[in-house]
């Protein structure tokens, strides 16, 4: 019996199923796209993304989003931005390759930093995904900047306990001692292997024979010359050992110098335990303003690093976590290809936004973003952003086209009323008033240069009640209360993993001179006390090591000098005797 391959009567039900599928898509496509956009956006940014309404118009390749809210990844009850409406023109053909190419987005009614009622942070709470990892990394990065706290409320200088295990001199001294011992053993072994005894004995014997020999005793003369050759070779070996010993001694001396450096570091560490900064003006600025200045750097770095993760340079396959589903998500691997479209490309976005949205007269600004893509090497041009307005100038350039990415961004915003904040370590509040804020960041490969500045001419100072009975508090108050100009600048530069932070302000000198007048002696005494504690812990370890190194050095040099002197002496005597024997005497 012939079996039919196809079940033609099933075509009808299958078509009906297909039509039902299309109908469901038509009914629920907007909802599905909205939910997926929220999910992907939340995953990408590490903060909750909400969309009130999303409409897909595939016929015209347009997507309209209304009521977009993106929560801040850092602040619990603050939005990063809100947008009234976004209209995107989508290139439909690349969708067949699962690529999203947006020709143009027009965003209207953008607002930044608006309040929200629920905590919208996702990465900060879960720590999952790329955003979670980047957030954790930037937090750890920011935590490396340890700023000593100035305790002025009571004027008391407190000293934390000094843990000997955290001093770097002690392990360095132990290591140097071990190195000195091993050098001594190595040199002794090298010295023993020279076997100078037989050479010296045979040379002495040859000299003795020459003393009783006559000019015609050729065998004795030959013995003498051979003994001189042996002495010269032995001397060469001693010279080689001497070079090796000198090199080793240099290293040991460097180790001793390293102990001094380690001691310096330990002093600095011990000084950091004093809850008081140096009375030098630049460090006053760091103590007062660095904790606040690090935050903008941390946030700018978060977005820069996020951009690097999502927009990596090069064309190698890249694996990212797959879509969440009941089954294991696995990994999605992207395979960029030269002269092909990237998986995501936003050619151009025109933004219009409001600053001071809550004020009576909110100001309208405009910006433009171009070339935002997941594969910059394919697009071939950097991502650029610029925005301008009456009191705003902002720009950014993310150049991930080459192997070493370069990210640059900067913004100057004027007329922003910054909130009053507690000055760290001081029961004093500062209300900067309407200020001009500048932030600039350049991340070239793994080198960072960043600058954050606040300038205000209407700064106001407020005393906390805890300040009432503090002499030093009064001094601080007298130093700063009359100053209405505020000019703070923080600079960050160096390798990304460990950059240098410098903070200065126009208050530094005023505060420093007042503090120096009152606290100078007490600080010096406290610092001396810490130095003494460090010395007490270190000297017991460092003294014997220093003596040991000197002993090893002296011993090795003396041994070599002694043997060299014996060799030289014997050689001189042999040569003198040979000259005497072979001198031609005229009648």
């Amino acid at each position: 019996m012939k079996i039919k391959i196809f079940r033609w009567r099933a075509v009808g039900p299958l078509l009906v199923l297909f039509v039902i599928g299309c109908l469901l898509w038509w009914l629920f496509a907007d909802t599905i796209a909205r939910r997926e956009s929220q999910k992907v956006g939340t995953q990408l940014l590490g903060a909750k993304v909400d969309i009130q309404d999303l409409h897909l118009d595939l016929r015209r390749g347009a997507v309209t989003i209304r009521g977009l809210t993106i929560a801040s990844p850092h602040e619990a009850f603050q939005n990063l931005l809100e947008a009234d409406e976004l209209v995107a023109d989508i290139d439909m053909i690349p969708l067949t390759e699962k690529k999203l190419v947006v020709d143009r987005i027009v965003a209207k009614g953008l607002r930044f930093g608006t309040p929200r009622t629920t905590d919208g942070r996702v990465a900060a709470k879960s720590g999952d995904g790329i955003a979670g990892r980047v957030l954790a990394e930037t937090r750890e990065w920011a935590s490396q900047f340890q700023i000593p706290v100035l305790q002025l409320a009571t004027g008391k200088i407190s000293i934390d306990s000094l843990d000997p295990r955290r001093l770097s001199t002690i392990p360095a001294a132990a290591a140097l001692s071990a190195r000195a011992d091993s050098s001594r053993r190595a040199w002794q072994a090298a010295y023993d292997s020279l076997r100078l005894g037989p050479t010296l004995d045979s040379a002495s014997a040859a000299l003795e024979r020459l003393r009783h020999a006559r000019a015609a005793d050729l065998a004795a003369l030959n013995d003498g010359r051979q003994a001189i050759d042996r002495l010269k070779r032995a001397r060469d070996r001693v010279t080689a050992l001497d070079r090796s010993v000198k090199s080793g001694i240099t290293q040991l001396q460097t180790g001793l110098a390293g102990l001094d450096s380690a001691r310096g570091r330990d002093y600095a560490f011990a000084r950091s335990l004093l809850k008081l900064p140096s009375l030098d003006a630049p460090e006053i600025g760091a103590a007062l303003f660095a904790p606040g200045a690090i935050k903008p750097f941390e946030r700018a770095l978060y977005y820069a690093q996020l951009a690097r993760r999502y927009m990596p340079p090069g064309l190698l396959p890249r694996a990212t976590t797959g879509p969440s589903r009941v089954r294991r998500a696995g990994e999605d691997v992207r395979f960029p290809k030269e002269r092909a479209l990237p998986a995501f490309l936003l050619r151009s976005a025109e933004l219009s936004f409001l600053l001071h949205p809550t004020s009576d007269q909110p100001q309208q600004y405009a910006g433009r973003l171009t070339g935002l893509t997941s594969e910059p090497a394919l697009y071939g041009r950097p991502t650029t952003f610029r925005a301008s307005g009456p009191q705003l100038a902002a720009g950014a350039l993310l150049d991930h086209v080459r192997d070493i990415p370069v990210d640059t961004g900067g913004a100057t915003v004027g007329g922003i009323t910054l909130p009053a904040f507690q000055v760290p370590g001081v029961p004093l509040r500062l209300d900067p008033g309407a200020a001009t804020t500048q932030l600039g960041l350049t991340l070239n490969g793994d080198t960072i240069h960043a600058r954050f500045a606040i300038r205000s001419t209407h700064a106001r100072w407020m005393r906390d009640s805890g300040f009432a009975n503090s002499t030093i508090g009064d001094l601080m108050w007298r130093a700063v209360s009359g100053i209405s100009n505020l000019d703070v600048e923080a600079r960050l530069s160096g390798p990304l993993h460990h950059p240098d932070l410098a903070v200065r302000s126009n208050l530094d000198q005023a505060v420093a001179s007042r503090l120096r007048a009152v606290l100078g002696d007490r600080v010096a005494a406290a610092e001396k006390q810490m130095h003494d504690r460090v010395d007490a812990l270190i000297n017991d370890k460092v003294g014997p090591v220093r003596a040991r190194v000197n002993e090893v050095q002296t011993q090795a040099q003396a041994q070599i000098a002694q043997q060299r002197a014996r060799l030289d002496d014997l050689q001189k005597q042999l040569e003198q005797r040979l000259r005497d024997l072979t001198r031609i005497r005229l009648p």
Binding site: I5, R7, P13, R328, D332
Partner: protein
């Protein structure tokens, strides 16, 4: 419990249907693709269309699907490993790059490690599964098939009343 009864019903439906052992085996193989690979993917739409349009056992397909779903879950780590090895193999990079940049193909999610790994696994298993199932069904029918059909258990399971009663009393 409901799923188990449905599974047993599917099994008996398939084993005692009028289809040939080959048709039943082909249905189970197609069903295994649905069960082993993540369901919501383009290739499964094609598999489902084939199950409907080709003259294979639909009940067998449902049985294969039901049986292989838990196996798929269990073997997901293996699929992930297979997919990872294949997708990141330098020798295959050209193939994947070209497929990834070809219209429609990326919609199949072949670039997902679990999807690719499970699909490759299902493809490799399909032929042995087909041969083994066809032999097993043929053997079943000539040996114990008729006795089972006459058994009370078979009648109880396949009787729609039992199922309806169960439906009435299920929580």
């Amino acid at each position: 419990m409901f799923a188990l009864i449905k599974l047993i019903q599917s099994l008996f439906d398939a084993l005692h249907s009028e289809g040939t052992p080959g048709q039943l085996a082909a249905g189970i193989v197609l069903g295994s693709f649905l069960g082993l690979t993540p369901l919501v993917n383009l290739h499964n739409a094609l598999i489902f269309a084939a199950l409907v349009l080709l003259n294979v056992s639909f009940a067998g397909g449902m049985l294969g699907w039901a049986v292989f779903v838990p196996i798929g879950f269990l073997l997901d780590p293996l699929f992930d490993w297979i997919g990872h090895s294949l997708l990141l193999a330098p020798s295959l990079r050209g193939l994947w790059t070209s497929l990834y940049n070809t219209p429609i193909v990326p919609l199949s999610n072949f670039n997902n490690t679990v999807v690719l790994g499970s699909l490759v696994f299902a493809l490799l298993v399909s032929l042995p599964l087909f041969v083994a199932t066809r032999w097993a069904v043929a053997r079943y029918r000539v040996t114990v098939g008729e006795r089972v059909r006459q058994s009370k258990f078979y009648r109880a399971v396949t009787a729609s009343k039992v199922y309806n009663v169960y439906k009435m009393f299920r929580p």
